[in-house]
């Protein structure tokens, strides 16, 4: 549109101002925690009296934190792979299948996103008690899969719906079998969506804390669980440092996902 609304300047400035203020309000907690992690005060004085990397040194020399880091990463990577594969097949079924109750099923897929996470924690805990999965790696993966799958499915379904089915049909008429057309044409065309699904699934598992608290055993603690349990004893700057690492990784992955999305063919 060419309209530039010179005349609505005042209202526009006020609205833009509110938008900036709200944005600052939302960022404030994260900024505080990042600053505290570099602050020299043991008691989280703010603003910090001076700057140090001391807490990061502490963090990377503590085998417990490193073990949790490894646990979180292993679980999240497995979850990302399995969620993307299962999500891909489920998304094909959802967007291409034509069966009764398809819309209902689509709503079911979103359940874990809107359900209170504490209910999931209770339910999985009760279920896993019986299956003796609490405290096991496979238990973590299954629990986080329930949390992560909806994100994977949304990302892949969006990509599949944005992909013109006629292109796959064209590949079939060109001589490719239906499966060959999917592998050689559809999958490469939606690769940004698949990548997004993997990243979001990874983050959903990596950042999850409530379910993980119930799943965890002393030997198997994810990073967020260790932050949580440490925090209940003591608010130390090491926690600010771990949190900052967590945030940095999340931002990094989001930037990669955004970059991938932008780079996809229009």
């Amino acid at each position: 549109m060419l309209l530039d609304f010179d005349r609505l300047g005042a209202l526009r400035a006020v609205l833009s101002g509110i938008a900036v203020l709200v944005g600052a309000f939302l960022l404030l907690p994260v900024i505080v925690i990042v600053l505290l992690s570099f602050g020299s005060s043991r008691y989280l004085q703010f603003p910090p009296p001076s700057w140090t990397l001391h807490w990061y040194t502490d963090l990377f020399n503590d085998p417990d934190w490193l073990a949790s880091f490894a646990t979180s990463a292993e679980i999240a990577i497995v979850v990302a792979i399995v969620a993307t594969l299962l999500g891909l097949m489920a998304s094909f079924g959802l967007t291409r299948g034509r069966f009764r109750g398809r819309e209902t099923l689509r709503a079911v897929f979103m359940t874990p996103m809107v359900m209170p996470v504490v209910v999931f924690a209770v339910a999985l805990y009760a279920l896993f008690l019986r299956l003796q999965l609490n405290g096991t790696f496979i238990g973590f993966v299954i629990a986080h899969l329930v949390i992560a799958l909806p994100f994977a499915i949304i990302s892949i379904c969006n990509a599949l719906e944005g992909f013109d089915k006629s292109i796959e049909d064209a590949a079939v008429l060109c001589g490719a079998s239906p499966l060959e057309a999917k592998l050689r044409v559809t999958l490469p065309a939606i690769k940004a969506g698949l990548f997004g699904a993997a990243i979001f699934s990874f983050l959903a598992s990596w950042d999850e804390v409530v379910v993980a608290i119930f799943m965890s055993s002393p030997d198997l603690q994810t990073l967020p669980v260790r932050i949580f349990s440490t925090l209940q004893q003591d608010l130390s700057p090491v926690i600010a440092a771990v949190s900052t690492v967590l945030v940095a990784l999340t931002v990094l992955l989001m930037v990669i996902a955004a970059f991938f999305r932008r780079g996809k063919p229009a």
Binding site: S166, A170, L173, C174, G175, P265, A266
Partner: protein, 354 residues
């Protein structure tokens, strides 16, 4: 009679209670350019999809060189197709798109390269071999799609409104290209469109679809000059319809104001019919010059519009029916004024009765 190249025999397709096409039968000769023309939902695309193998007809058969295609899956039919939407593979370059059907068929690399070069030359996009589809205009993409569809030398090329997303100038340019490519390759083309001008411009024959059936098949000249039904007359070209009656032993036609029209062919009419619809095209009227004429209409000019190549008159006949008349610019009638009475004539051979 020699065996037809492609034969569509009594195709019917129903979705539950909805009938998409019904009793569609036509034979197509090798190298022919046949167009399926009709309004949307008339069954023209459904018939094309049945040939492509994207849907299975409820009844009927489709034979290529006398052999049924129905049990052959789409990817084994060896048919080329250009779709309405842009269907280039977005992650492949232009050259790789054109090479795709050959690579699927595992042809040797040298053959693939030669064939890709030949096809890009055919559609005049040699210089764009390395472009990605997203970097090309819609018109260029459809030309690449055409090259891809022809890459494996299919005996039949299907085109499903391939130009409908393009603007008028570009559409005419690519119509010209398609006609040239049809001449150069001799491929048999089945073309779907809802644009009558496009159909007239391109086709050897036109099958006019209406409500799931073929209303008439013939050359553009046949459909325009000898429409088989009122629907055909209304769909192809502009037309005026008005009521009339057949009367007397000579079965002459009378207009509502009593004027008789003589010498009109009644061949296509059911013998017992008395109330008829009369059709005259806007450009078949001439200003009456006072001489004796077989068909005369009196009316009043209600509006004149200058349209460059011709002048359009809105006329109300003496019995109150609206009439659209187009007179060429050099006709003396261009000086006709709004509100003026007018007498129009029309050659009896240009009057159709249904």
């Amino acid at each position: 009679m020699t065996r037809p190249f492609l034969s569509v025999q009594g195709i019917e397709k129903t979705y539950g209670a909805v009938v998409a096409v019904q009793d569609v039968t036509l034979d197509i000769a090798e190298g022919e350019f046949i167009t399926f023309l009709g309004p949307s939902g008339s069954g023209k695309s459904t018939t094309l999809y049945a040939v492509a193998g994207f849907l299975e007809p409820t009844k009927g058969d489709i034979l290529l060189n006398g052999k049924s295609l129905l049990d052959v899956p789409s990817n084994k039919r060896n048919i080329g197709m250009v779709f309405q939407r842009y269907t280039l593979f977005p992650h492949l370059s232009v050259a790789d798109n054109v090479a795709f059907p050959l690579r699927v068929r595992r042809r040797p690399k040298a053959e693939v390269d030669a064939r890709v070069a030949a096809m890009l030359k055919l559609v005049r996009l040699e210089s764009m071999a390395d472009r990605m589809p997203a970097q090309m205009s819609g018109g260029q993409q459809q030309r690449v799609a055409l090259a891809r569809a022809l890459a494996y030398n299919p005996p039949i090329l299907l085109m499903d409104e391939p130009l409908s997303a393009l603007d008028k100038k570009l559409r005419e340019e690519i119509q010209f290209e398609i006609k040239r490519i049809h001449n150069e390759t001799g491929v048999t083309i089945m073309y779907v469109t809802h644009d009558q001008e496009e159909a007239l411009r391109l086709s050897d024959r036109i099958a006019l679809f209406n409500a799931g059936r073929i209303e008439q098949i013939g050359t553009g000249h046949d459909l325009y000059e000898k429409p088989a039904s009122r629907f055909v007359a209304g769909f192809i070209g502009n037309s005026n319809f008005f009521e009339g009656t057949l009367s007397g032993a000579d079965r002459s036609i009378r207009l509502p104001d009593g004027t008789a029209i003589r010498g009109v062919s009644l061949d296509r009419l059911a013998p017992a019919k008395e109330d008829v619809a009369i059709m005259i095209r806007p450009d078949h009227f001439r200003l009456h010059d006072g001489s004796e004429a077989a068909a005369m209409l009196r009316g009043t000019v209600t509006d004149t519009t200058y349209l460059g190549e011709y002048t359009q008159l809105a006329v109300t006949t003496s019995w109150g029916a609206p009439l659209s008349v187009r007179l060429p610019q050099h006709d003396p009638a261009v000086s006709v004024q709004k509100g003026q009475p007018i007498t129009l004539t029309c050659a009896p051979s240009n009057v159709r009765v249904f």
